[in-house]
């Protein structure tokens, strides 16, 4: 859309688990400053696809390029160092830690007191507040409460903030970001996605909610039975056509789309 060269490209990705082929010859491209939605029925291969993209799984066949250079990842940590991170459906948040502690979980900031490294809780709180405010425009009433006490949307913001905290983040994958949220919280989360897109990130959203997909996405990548059933521009399509691609019915597109 905006940038002609894609940040990340997947070519002919095939993933087999024993005798089961979860993905067959899938291509995917994502551009900076764009929201790409991945839709599809249960078992269509959406989750496997993003797990390959985030380095959790390694593809059986096919290759990926990142900024035009070949990309090989052996673990999720590799993906993070390359600037690819994911926000999972369960958010992977420790409910009994504060938002700041969650943001830095696993990579805490330390300071030295008498030569002994100890956690720098104040610095972490300050940076967490800054990330939430500057990158996501979210201000929590208190940064000292347990994450448990926050609303669904705020928890989502904390999980997203943990990913965007890394300044070199280029691709953010979100798995069902609105599935567990009420209408108001959904609207707020969609706004967050908008904000991230404007900051030049490539945002890849997996969702079942077609309404949300049509509201935020620029392109829709439809998966069906482990294959890419089609990629359509959101502005040029209808939910009828997307549903047709998802279910495989109505393949006579001319009649349906008109």
């Amino acid at each position: 859309m905006s940038d002609p060269t894609p940040i990340i490209e997947m070519h002919g990705i095939t993933k087999r688990f024993g005798g089961v082929t979860a993905l067959r010859n899938v291509d995917l491209t994502a551009y900076a400053g764009e929201v790409l939605a991945i839709v599809g029925d249960n078992g269509a291969g959406k989750s496997t696809l993003i797990k390959v993209l985030t380095g959790v799984y390694q593809p059986t066949e096919g290759h990926m390029t990142f900024d035009g250079a070949p990309l090989v990842m052996s673990s999720h940590a590799d993906a993070i160092t390359n600037g690819i991170d994911a926000v999972y459906q369960n958010l992977a948040i420790a409910d009994h830690l504060t938002p700041a502690q969650n943001l830095f979980l696993g990579s805490e900031l330390t300071k030295r007191v008498m030569g002994i490294p100890i956690l720098d809780n104040r610095e972490m709180t300050e940076q967490a507040t800054a990330v939430l405010k500057d990158r996501l425009g979210v201000q929590l009433k208190s940064m000292d409460v347990m994450t448990e006490s926050l609303s669904g949307g705020q928890r989502q913001a904390v999980a997203i903030a943990r990913a965007v905290r890394h300044d070199d983040l280029r691709v953010l994958v979100m798995d069902e970001p609105t599935a567990a949220l009420g209408p108001q919280e959904t609207a707020r989360t969609l706004k967050l996605i908008e904000v991230l897109k404007d900051q030049g990130l490539a945002v890849i959203v997996i969702s079942h909610a077609l309404d949300d997909v049509f509201e935020i996405s620029d392109r829709i990548h439809v998966m069906r039975r482990g294959e890419c059933a089609g990629v359509v521009r959101t502005a040029e399509t209808t939910s009828q056509e997307v549903l047709g691609l998802i279910t495989g019915a109505n393949l006579t597109q001319g009649g349906a789309a008109a």
Partner: protein, 370 residues
């Protein structure tokens, strides 16, 4: 609790402090009760000293147990770890003429080793912590019995008795100072180190911790090593306090310590830790047991009392922590629910029955023991 207009405000504001407020309220109740019934004997300096000495023994273990329980773990082997490491230290001193300070260090190292074994049994062999540490409890106790047979080893160097009951520091007995220092160290460990932070994260959400790259198993092993070391320290303190040790020493350490930690607001369901609460819990249990003794209630009732305190505090905390996410109307609605009312009546009935039994025991047993 409060009016429907502010259904959670009071409860929400109090909640973070429940770990301290709960035991404090119970401590105040015991103090008030004893003040009314036996003020002269209970509040003597010598008795307060006795309470502190008793509490000091449990402070290091309560500190370590706070970490173990916060990680959703449990360690039932601490009594045997304490006994075995103390027995081995005693043999080193009495039979092999080791200097006391070397023996003390070896004792702590042995405790750490036993904790390491516990941790590995749980993380490598994937034995559930309850079964794993219960079985290791038998193993360690068995080794202690094999080593010491029925022997009572007594008369230790001054260093050991100083650690167990010394008064060199004037204002507080040495073991109390040691106990408080371990708790302070535990507080810092919990607040300001990776180990403390990951302990809460692991207890709160093990899968998420794993996903964020925390080495969950390694930090669980750390907690058990800390637990073993602190149990050995307690064994050492007990040996010094009594100036004697035998294989059957320290029988009910595990439940006493778990009770103290849980009463202090550390959740058995993981993720919630309160070091100050653990201190309060230790003090509460020591005061309670001392009160039972002061009231000349038969010694064996203290086990009943500890059990009741564990059940009550876990039940109350679970109830208080129930979040009103779906707007069901808070505690008033919970109480109004006919099922819960039945359970409440049952609980009250049981409490009354226990009180009656206690009164009977006091009335019948009291004169006989005096």
């Amino acid at each position: 609790m409060s009016a429907a207009a502010t259904p959670t405000s009071l409860a929400a504001r109090i909640e973070p402090y429940m770990g301290i407020l709960g035991p404090m309220a119970m401590i105040a109740m015991i103090a008030l009760f004893m003040g009314a019934v036996e003020p002269a004997r209970y509040f003597r300096m010598s008795n307060i000293n006795q309470i502190l000495l008793d509490a000091a023994l449990y402070m290091p273990m309560a500190m370590a147990m706070t970490f173990v329980i916060t990680q959703r773990g449990i360690d039932l082997s601490i009594g045997s770890v304490a006994a075995l490491s103390a027995i081995m230290m005693a043999f080193l001193i009495k039979q092999y003429d080791f200097p006391a300070w070397v023996a003390v260090i070896i004792c702590l190292a042995l405790g750490a080793g036993m904790g390491l074994i516990n941790g590995l049994v749980i993380t490598v062999f994937r034995v559930p912590d309850l079964i794993g540490t219960l079985a290791m409890d038998l193993v360690y106790r068995g080794f202690a019995l094999v080593l010491a047979k029925g022997l009572v080893l007594a008369r230790f160097p001054d260093l050991i008795t100083e650690i167990g009951r010394g008064q060199t520091l004037q204002f507080l007995p040495t073991p109390v100072v040691i106990g408080l220092l371990t708790l302070i160290a535990g507080y810092i460990l919990l607040r300001a180190t990776h180990f403390g932070r990951y302990t809460i994260a692991i207890g709160s959400n093990p899968e998420a911790s794993e996903m964020t790259g925390i080495s969950v198993d390694r930090h669980r092993v750390y907690a058990y090593v800390l637990m073993g070391t602190m149990a050995a320290l307690a064994g050492l303190m007990l040996t010094g306090k009594l100036n004697a040790v035998q294989a059957t020493s320290a029988p009910y350490f595990n439940l006493h310590v778990i009770a103290a930690v849980v009463v202090g607001g550390t959740s058995l369901f993981g993720g919630r830790a309160s070091m100050i609460g653990s201190l309060a819990g230790v003090l509460l249990l020591s005061m309670m047991i001392n009160a039972l003794v002061t009231l000349r209630i038969e010694f064996f009732w203290q086990s009943v009392a500890s059990g009741v305190v564990i059940i009550l505090s876990v039940a109350i905390y679970t109830w208080l922590q129930k979040k009103d996410r779906d707007g069901s109307g808070g505690m008033a609605a919970v109480i109004a629910n006919p099922d819960n009312r039945k359970i409440g009546l049952l609980a009250i009935g049981l409490a009354v029955a226990i009180l009656v039994l206690l009164a009977l025991g006091a009335a019948l047993g009291g004169p006989a023991t005096t």
